[in-house]
């Protein structure tokens, strides 16, 4: 596919994100990834939920389904099942994807619908003014958790690896080229892909700042990590300490939802014509 200019994917609208927010860079990386793949905008659907991250649907030139908070992956799965001919990307915040929508994430990894899920992980609920998200560390203080969050942080990477998600990666918004690369690989990978994008939220998260992340990143492609090894991937995902792994943690190739499916192997159901009267009459004949 011909590479396109990333510009054409970016909508010329006012962006309502705070200055210094990681979301700007993620938007640019997404556009760069789509340009790399040469995907025509009208063949891509960007599905988002609600949150600061989720507003990205309005800031790009793509088809968009900006649905409910937490239901991003469910809606995306419906779109993909109706239209396997389209590239479907589900993109939202950590609260949306891992909190309110956790169940849909779990079950669509299990289904292995060919989706790319991009999680904007700022460890807070940005839009609702900074409460702890599921990825906030234990003890993280906010106005809603004044004594510190009493719960352990969710580890989305370990979860995805444990569920045998076909593509699991993590990246940092402050490394836009690497991020673009990972997104484009995730889109190309058959089956469910998760890209967890760590990003600073200068308005609410004063702990995990740009500099904080920078000091801790470890690039997996420089450590000899083998993404084909699920045990290694799980070990990397669960390694405790100060290091934060970025890059591809895990890839595998397992049957997708569509493989061998009696209906999905045919024309997309979203484009099929209304049934002919003969077909309907043959169905009704079974009642007589």
């Amino acid at each position: 596919m011909a590479e396109m200019s990333a510009e054409k994917y970016l909508a010329d609208v006012e962006l309502a994100w705070c200055p210094g927010c990681g979301n700007f860079a993620i938007r640019t990386s997404l556009a760069a990834a789509l340009a790399q793949l040469g995907l025509p905008p009208h063949k891509v659907v960007l599905v988002t939920g609600i949150g600061q991250a989720a507003k990205i649907a309005h800031y790009v030139n793509l088809n968009g389904f900006n649905g409910l908070h937490g239901r991003t992956v469910a809606a995306a799965a419906g779109i993909k099942l109706a239209r396997p001919d389209l590239t479907v990307i589900a993109e939202s915040g950590d609260g949306d994807l891992y909190g309110e929508g956790g169940n849909h994430l779990l079950h669509n990894i299990r289904r292995n619908v060919d989706l790319t899920v991009i999680a904007h992980d700022n460890r807070v609920y940005g839009l609702t003014k900074g409460q702890a998200s599921p990825t906030a560390p234990r003890g993280y203080r906010t106005r809603a958790q004044p004594a510190g969050s009493p719960s352990a942080a969710l580890n989305p990477l370990a979860l995805a690896v444990a569920l045998d998600a076909p593509f699991v990666a993590q990246t940092f918004s402050g490394e836009p080229d690497r991020t673009a690369n990972l997104i484009s690989q995730a889109i190309q990978h058959r089956g469910f892909s998760l890209v967890n994008v760590l990003h600073p939220c200068p308005s609410w998260n004063r702990v995990q700042t740009f500099a904080w992340y920078k000091e801790r990143l470890v690039h997996l492609d420089e450590t000899g990590h083998d993404p084909g090894d699920q045990g290694q991937a799980f070990a990397v995902a669960t390694r405790s300490g100060e290091q934060i792994p970025v890059g591809i943690l895990y890839t595998t190739d397992r049957p997708t939802f569509a493989d061998g499916h009696p209906v999905l192997s045919g024309d997309p159901v979203g484009l099929r014509p209304l049934p002919s009267s003969d077909v309907v009459r043959s169905l009704l004949a079974t009642f007589s």
């Binding site: 609208v13 968009g64 389209l86 209906v263 997309p268 209304l274 007589s288």
Partner: protein, 554 residues
């Protein structure tokens, strides 16, 4: 003529009921078969009550002419409902030999002759069939249809039972229709068939009785008819998946009951906001909460109407019988698609599970059309605005990926393109646009059915909606002069003008509804200022019979 087959769960009541229904259907007779059961897989009480008629039958009965009791408990429970001159068929080991039942050594014969203990039920059915005056061939056909390649031992069982009595006790009416002129199906199958006929291409649902019947029907026909059917992880996923699929071009259905619908409520509101069609089959059962999982009721009327935050138009139908369920399901899809609104099909356990013979269904009665903007028209547009401010409120709709035009929908308030906005003038224009669709919708709704036709002046009206149709109709027929039946099958938008007229003519309006509080009365009062004068409630989880209504009204 009425028959009841009763036994414990696991004794095959449903299979026996289906064989008997098919045999009568093959004999050219109309029938209604009500399946009533406890929420368990083994034990408990299962009963199939079958009425036979020379014209369509849409209601069940308390009394029967023949009781086939598969165990002692069912014999004791249902014997009081056997009419004078009726017959009880049981196994020889059941009940008291002194009583005048027809006692068949079914268990012994099944064990010794057939080496198939489960076939005892078919032996008893054979005896019952003979007594009813059914042709052996018709029952043979029915057994073949139900058991397929496992029919052989059951055919022998049939003969053992059939030959146990020397002759019939009743004579069945002559055939009322020829093959192909009528159909035998359940309300659940009718909803499923209506969905397929209307071009449904996607179903995502989480199992919940009685909604599951539709899920299973579509799952069985999915491969042949090109429908993606998926069991969702929960009802929230179900409706959001359906909306995604519908946005992408697939006519979509979800099926559930009250509890599952409660979980779908935010999604329903999303459908209203993004103006994306979806059809919701809501099979009612008594609540609150889990309620009575396998029983029937009409408690979700106001819930279906008011569910969903914010204000947006919707279409609600409540089929009166299986044929109506087929046509109204087709119409629900077509209306949802035309107006880009959610449509709700309000059924109940009684309608979904009952077998009924109806005049052959004709899909041409509800024309279905493709409502998408032609791609040529799109090519001529500079930009495509998914939510263009159309006078009818219906913005021309296209799908993602069929042209270079992008399609953006948003659960936030949005502008004509679909982009999030906080411009309050646009907000007001969008609310007005969405609500304008209500005017067109109102014109789609047929007026309430009035029986007998003619003036209502001075009459007592029995008012009902949905599956109580057959019971009310029969009650009104038996009450005779001075009574009329007014029935609603499309509930929202409400035809207020005709209802006002009913009140202004009638002597008295009696609401008959399977609730404790009379929800339709409150709805009509809110919309027209007119209240029912009396209310006949039922909320024990059983369907109304004509006899129940007569007793309450007289």
């Amino acid at each position: 003529m009425a028959v009841r087959i009763a036994g414990a769960a696991g004794q095959g009541v449903q299979t026996l009921g289906e064989i008997l229904a098919r045999a009568l259907f093959r004999s050219g007779l109309y029938l209604h078969g009500e399946f009533s059961y406890h929420s368990r897989i083994r034990g408990g009480e299962n009963a199939f009550t079958l009425r036979v008629g020379e014209a369509p039958v849409f209601t069940t009965t308390n009394d029967v002419d023949l009781l086939l009791a598969l165990n002692e408990e069912m014999l004791d429970l249902y014997r009081p409902w056997v009419r004078e001159g009726g017959v009880v068929v049981t196994d020889e080991a059941v009940g008291d030999p002194a009583d005048r039942e027809v006692r068949v050594p079914a268990v012994r014969l099944a064990r010794e002759e057939l080496k198939l203990p489960i076939a005892a039920g078919v032996i008893l059915l054979g005896t019952a069939a003979r007594l009813l005056g059914l042709d052996r061939e018709r029952v043979t056909d029915a057994i073949r249809e139900v058991f397929g390649d496992k029919a052989e031992p059951n055919l022998r069982a049939l003969d053992l039972g059939y030959d146990h009595v020397p002759n019939g006790r009743w004579q069945l009416p002559s055939p009322q229709f020829k093959h192909g002129e009528a159909m035998l199906l359940t309300g659940g199958q009718a909803v499923g068939a209506g969905a397929i006929a209307a071009g449904c291409r996607f179903l995502s649902s989480y199992p919940m009785t009685p909604g599951t019947a539709v899920l299973e029907f579509l799952a069985m026909h999915a491969a042949k008819h090109g429908i993606v059917v998926e069991q969702a992880e929960d009802e929230i996923a179900a409706i959001n998946m359906a909306l995604g699929a519908s946005y992408a071009g697939a006519r979509s259905l979800v099926t559930t009951s009250g509890g599952g619908f409660a979980l779908m409520v935010e999604g329903l509101s999303l459908a209203g906001m993004i103006e994306t069609p979806v059809v919701i089959h809501l099979g009612q059962r008594p609540g609150p909460a889990t309620g009575l999982p396998t029983r029937t009721g009409q408690e979700n009327l106001l819930f279906a109407l008011h569910a969903g935050h914010g204000e947006f138009p919707r279409y609600i139908v409540a089929p009166s019988d299986a044929a109506d369920a087929f046509y109204l399901t087709m119409k629900a899809f077509e209306v949802a698609e035309t107006y880009q609104v959610p449509a709700i099909i309000l059924t109940d356990q009684f309608l979904v599970d009952s077998y009924v013979v109806v005049p052959a269904l004709d899909p041409a009665r509800v024309p279905v059309h493709d409502h998408h903007l032609p791609v040529e028209d799109l090519a001529r547009m500079e930009t495509y605005n998914r939510f263009a401010l159309a006078p009818s409120g219906i913005s021309p709709r296209t799908l993602p990926g069929v042209s270079e035009k992008l399609v953006l929908v948003d659960s936030d308030e949005h502008d004509a393109y679909g982009r999030i906005t906080e411009d309050l003038e646009i907000r007001v224009a969008m609310v007005d646009k969405r609500l304008r669709k209500g005017d067109g919708l109102r014109a789609e709704v047929a007026p309430p059915e009035i029986y007998p036709t003619g003036s209502l002046r001075g009459k007592r009206i029995l008012l009902g909606w949905g599956s109580t149709y057959g019971a009310i109709r029969e009650a009104v027929e038996r009450l005779g002069a001075g009574y009329a039946h007014v029935h609603l099958r499309e509930l929202w938008p409400l035809r207020t003008e005709e209802l006002r007229h009913v009140w202004s003519e009638a002597e008295e309006v009696v609401l008959v509804e399977e609730t404790a509080t009379g929800q339709m009365g409150r709805l009509i009062a809110g919309e027209t200022g007119r209240q029912p004068h009396r209310f006949v409630p039922r909320y024990d989880g059983r369907p109304f019979t004509a006899a129940d209504i007569l007793e309450a009204v007289r």
